[in-house]
Symmetry: C3
Subunit: 147 residues, 3 copies
């Protein structure tokens, strides 16, 4: 039995999820909108109230939204970093992965330094497409919007 | 040799520790006091000065304290999130695990947004009970209380 | 095939990188300058503008800088914690590891509490020396210095 073909353990999947988020988040935060959109499934949905209270559905719509957002932030001299931690990973019977993460959103504005913009919880359903995890459903909730 | 029965490697134990904290912390932060108490051993002790300077000992006492705390926070419209990172994991000869983590405690208050409440270091001894890691001893120290 | 000798998988390397940073960062933050310097290679270089805009080269120079810095912080009653998250890990053909991390630098000052001092991205090339990962090259960039 080679390491390559042994069945994925829960530990392997956790590492894979960590890898997914690191790449996904860095693409999102750096305005690489088209590559970031490709980390969602074709039919993915995302909701993140209050800013996005009607779900965005489909990779094309997500890509357009990410591109517009990235261009606006670049023009305004603003950078967000989403610091993921405390990622709870559950593997479901259908092979999809439910991941629930704490996300500290740090905002940096030119000449104004960096500060905590929002504390969020991100709930994702990740599915494997052509061997790679992608976001199929995302619900991101701000703590200051939910207590 | 199947993946299921191979001996746990250090990497496996790190993944298990990450999994433990994600679940444990989310239960703690969301006021699920009885389930959170079950992530401590029967004889567990916890100390976290200055708020908890006399150790709380035993799962029953911990459960009572967690319940009272959760009820108070819910009444006050306050949410804490403990963002664990930089977790140092050491496996001891007796099979217990020493974990030393950085913990950014983020406080969100209704109508007041989210901010960094405290920077802490959490030192835990984790032991395996019925196959699951649980906290046997916790010492949490705030940086602003220790410099 | 024993667990000990199977070839390292990507997942194993991610766990190893996580372990490296946890130890490395805690040594750095706690002013254990000589041990921290030993987590860099003999020829390591580090640049972190604007504070360190000319690269520091070599473990001896790094050790001296870390020691001076640690002594100053201790005298001033200041503690920094570098909270690493969202670590992107790439294994290169030559066996070195490129790691790109989000780093929230939290500053605690006596009688002044804790706050976010800087949001940084840390890009490291890690190489294996005598079986252990060490930093060969570090570039750390503050977001408020790069937008």
């Amino acid at each position: 039995m080679s390491a390559a073909v042994r069945e994925k353990t829960y530990e392997d999947i956790c590492a894979e999820v960590g890898r997914f988020y690191a790449r996904h988040v860095q693409l999102m935060d750096e305005g690489r909108a088209e590559e970031a959109a490709d980390t969602f499934t074709e039919e993915a949905s995302m909701v993140s109230p209050p800013k996005i209270s009607t779900p965005i559905v489909g990779r094309a719509a997500l890509a357009a939204g990410l591109r517009a957002n990235a261009d606006q932030l670049a023009a305004d001299g603003i950078r967000y970093r989403r610091c993921y931690s405390t990622i709870l990973v559950e593997v479901r019977d259908d092979g999809s992965v439910f991941a629930r993460s704490y996300v500290q959103v740090i905002r940096t504005e030119r000449d104004k330094g960096s500060y905590l913009h929002a504390m969020c919880v991100c709930e994702d359903v990740l599915v494997r497409t052509d061997g790679e995890l992608k976001v199929a459903e995302r619900v991101a909730i701000r703590d200051d919007d939910s207590i």
